[in-house]
């Protein structure tokens, strides 16, 4: 089910009513959350509900098993079993065909014919998100950072909570799971915050992202490129993916908020970043923290005897994994490598966080421009349809010819980027992502009314799915 669909609006209205009816029954509320979340997920393809259930059931069981033993060896075995199962699921559904085809291509170049049987299975929506969520639970229980939950229903609710099930944020059990264990209070500020996040998130998706999409497609679905077209198309895609994904995260947070739950912030003005490390502290924060905690730090500890080289290797491996997490294609691997190398270079230039802070405004401005150039070239790698296209588009950067439609493109780009840029400048200056809520009531109502009008204006019958659904 898509947030930006009529069916979700009906679903959510019905859910709110049922949620109100069960306000005096904690267990019933969590059963309702699970049932609604499974309906939400199954609306896309009910057959994959079993996968979600099996993944949850196994990790719930492993969590219990870990809590019942203190012996290191069986604990380690349980952990390995859980991780192996999670990675097998991901590997089978997401990467089997990719690796088989890649192996066939490599062997083909060596004149060793290999015709693998590809499975052609559909990628279950959100598998990367909920698998990472269940894995983090087991690892945290193993590390004794959180206790294992006894309630299966609560655990199912934590894994399948519909606002964040299919595209995150990737919640940690330590934050979300306890919220299902007790009573929640829904206050007026929470309602205000939730409604605002839902509205602004929907505006970012329906009005901004879905209007940046045809601009990016115009360039990326083409066959001939020039410097200006590549730059404009990549700018459009950079805005599209940000509005699309952060819009989803805002709707998810807002939806949870009006139900009395708190979901972590996933974006914090990423295009204001002044270096690559800063960018990753602001972009897809839940994934960044996940890979930091569960991949980078363990690798860095393991390879610390190699000093800087160990850290650099850990960074590159971590971001290669992050690239692969996004999708089974070589352009995602390249994108991950690009960021891994960028972070390594940044470590050389700024070895400590203090070095980042001790810079003048002009250096910061230059640093921001360089970071954006780096990030947006990364988006070119991310969005390209093939390695050949990456090469063609990179070569075209030196050609300054402009197509006839440049003016129309720029008008569109500016028209749709302006609301986002203005809002983010406001949020940054106020140091408050909820700055619009501090407006006088009449001004806030006017702003909300205008956003609502824009959403209805651009609400299409043919929905553009969220980009991160495919991951």
């Amino acid at each position: 089910m898509l947030f930006n669909s009529d069916v979700f609006l009906k679903f959510f209205a019905a859910f709110l009513l049922l949620f109100w009816l069960v306000r005096n029954h904690l267990a019933a509320r969590n059963v309702l959350v699970v049932a609604a979340s499974y309906l939400f997920y199954g609306w896309w393809d009910w057959r994959f509900l079993s996968l979600l259930f099996i993944s949850s059931a196994v990790d719930y069981g492993v969590g219990l098993a870990l809590s019942r033993t203190d012996a290191p060896r069986p604990r380690r075995l349980w952990l390995l079993l859980s991780i192996a199962l999670s990675l097998s699921l991901l590997g089978f559904f997401k990467y089997f065909d990719f690796f088989a085809e890649s192996l066939a291509a490599v062997l083909g170049r060596l004149h060793l014919p290999f015709h693998p049987r590809t499975l052609g299975v559909i990628l279950p929506i959100g598998i990367s998100f909920y698998t990472f969520q269940t894995m983090s639970y087991v690892i945290d229980v193993y590390r004794r950072q959180i206790p294992a939950t006894r309630s299966f229903i609560n655990f199912l609710a934590y894994v399948s909570f519909f606002p964040q099930l299919v595209a995150g944020p990737i919640e940690r059990a330590g934050h979300l799971l306890p919220q299902f264990e007790g009573a929640r209070s829904i206050t007026r500020p929470m309602l205000e915050e939730g409604l605002w996040l839902m509205l602004w998130g929907m505006f970012k998706k329906v009005v901004l992202a879905d209007n940046f999409a045809p601009l990016a497609d115009l360039v990326y679905q083409g066959h001939t490129f020039s410097g200006p077209t590549v730059a404009l198309g990549t700018l459009a895609f950079g805005f599209q993916i940000y509005c699309d994904f952060s819009g989803y995260s805002d709707i998810a947070r807002g939806t949870a908020r009006v139900l009395g739950f708190d979901i972590m912030v996933n974006f914090n003005l990423p295009y204001a970043a002044t270096n690559v490390r800063d960018f990753w502290r602001r972009w897809h924060i839940s994934l960044s923290r996940w890979i930091l905690d569960y991949i980078f730090i363990p690798l860095q500890v393991q390879w610390q005897r190699w000093r800087f080289l160990g850290t650099a290797a850990a960074l590159v491996v971590t971001f290669l994994a992050s690239g692969l997490w996004h999708g089974a294609a070589w352009n995602f691997v390249l994108w991950g490598l690009w960021h891994g190398l960028g972070l390594t270079v940044h470590r050389i230039v700024c070895p400590t966080p203090n070095a980042e802070r001790q810079t003048s405004t002009s250096v910061k401005t230059l640093s921001w421009a360089a970071t954006m150039a780096f990030v947006f070239y990364g988006w070119l790698l991310f969005r390209a349809r093939s390695l050949e296209q990456i090469v063609a588009m990179t070569r075209a950067l030196g050609d300054f010819s402009r197509p006839a439609w440049t003016t129309s493109f720029v008008i569109n780009l500016l028209a749709f980027a302006a609301p986002l840029v203005l809002m983010e400048i406001w949020q940054a200056r106020a140091r408050n992502p909820l700055a619009p809520l501090s407006l006088p009531p009449w001004a806030r109502a006017t702003l909300q009314g205008l956003l609502l009008l824009a959403i209805v204006l651009f609400w299409e019958n043919d929905k553009v799915p969220f980009i991160y659904f495919q991951f």
């Binding site: 904690l26 129309s408 209805v456």
Partner: protein, 327 residues
């Protein structure tokens, strides 16, 4: 055990949900009043290829053109005849007002009336060109007919059925989009049209530059039924079209080509008969029998449209066949 509590008053919820509706209502009122008074500009909903094309054709037909030759017809006329090279070859300006195959001869007649009203005494020759596909169409598409009528009369576009459309109409958003937004925000065109033209504004610009001609950039495999015939309703429509023709203006009629490899072996014979019959219904001054009914497959973008190279060749042939009628 309590699951959750609602720690706010009912009026809090009502004010949070209700106040934003006030500016929405004000906006709707302003837009509807603006359209009724009328304070808003006329509709110009360049929302997609069809809308943009029809708007450009209507505006071109209403402008001073100084073109003694007018090309009318379906999308094959629009795509197959390059008006600018034709003008160069004939040393007289030609304007292409070909539209869409979803429309019929009544639409062509309407554009002709607009043109003669805006350019009195200027027209010498009308060339009416249709593809065999259009000749067998029993009736035009109602949506496109209504759309053309709405655009001609300066009304809002035909509303599509659906809850969102009704809501958008009620809130005045259709008025906002069609009368204001489309005027300063070009719409990106989809697929191959997007890659070739870019945006609605660029399609318009290209049509104006090329004196009404468009290029079909979307190559598609040939498809459809190659058994063509002249539909009976064309008789009445032809009569209506004839009545729109000013006195002293010559009417020439032709059938645009189909791909050689697609049509049946009897295609040329069938087209010859259809052209004779249709020309008779139209009381045309001449039927353009010299025009080819088929051309090699590689000159086509799809069954009904030539590609750019095909249009160049076809225009040369058309210029040669029109020459004697202009002496």
């Amino acid at each position: 055990m309590t699951s959750h509590t609602y720690d706010f008053a009912r009026k809090d919820l009502l004010s949070l949900l209700g106040w934003p509706l006030l500016p929405v209502a004000c906006f709707a009122l302003f837009m509807h009043l603006g359209a009724a008074l009328p304070l808003l500009p006329k509709p110009r909903p360049t929302l997609d290829i069809d809308h943009t094309l029809l708007i450009q054709k209507i505006e071109a037909s209403r402008a001073r053109q100084d073109a003694p030759i007018l090309l009318l017809g379906d999308s094959s006329c629009l795509m197959d005849v390059a008006a600018r090279p034709l003008s160069d070859a004939l040393r007289r300006r030609a304007l292409n007002l070909g539209t869409l195959s979803y429309l019929d001869l009544n639409a062509a007649a309407a554009l002709l009336r607009e043109y003669t009203a805006a350019n009195p005494g200027q027209l010498r020759l009308v060339v009416l060109l249709l593809h065999p596909e259009a000749l067998r169409r029993i009736a035009p598409e109602a949506y496109h007919v209504e759309l053309l009528q709405a655009l001609l009369s300066g009304r809002e576009r035909v509303p599509l059925p659906g809850a969102r459309e009704s809501l958008a109409s009620l809130l005045g958003l259709d008025l906002f989009r069609g009368r204001l937004l489309c005027r300063f925000l070009p719409t990106p065109l989809p697929g191959a049209y997007g890659r070739y033209y870019g945006f609605s504004a660029d399609l318009e610009h290209s049509l104006t530059e090329r004196q009404g001609t468009a290029v079909d950039p979307d190559s598609q495999p040939f498809q459809g039924n190659a058994e063509y015939r002249l539909a009976q309703p064309f008789q009445a429509a032809s009569k209506a079209f004839r009545s729109a023709l000013p006195q002293g203006v010559r009417l020439l009629v032709g059938i645009t080509p189909a791909p050689e490899g697609f049509v049946s072996p009897t295609h040329r014979e069938v087209c010859g008969q259809m052209l004779a019959q249709w020309s008779q219904w139209l009381q045309a001054d001449a039927a353009l029998t010299e025009l080819p009914f088929t051309l090699p497959d590689h000159l086509f973008a799809r069954t009904t449209h030539l590609n750019e190279a095909g249009a160049r060749l076809y225009t040369e042939i058309l210029a040669r066949s029109l020459e004697p009628h202009l002496r």
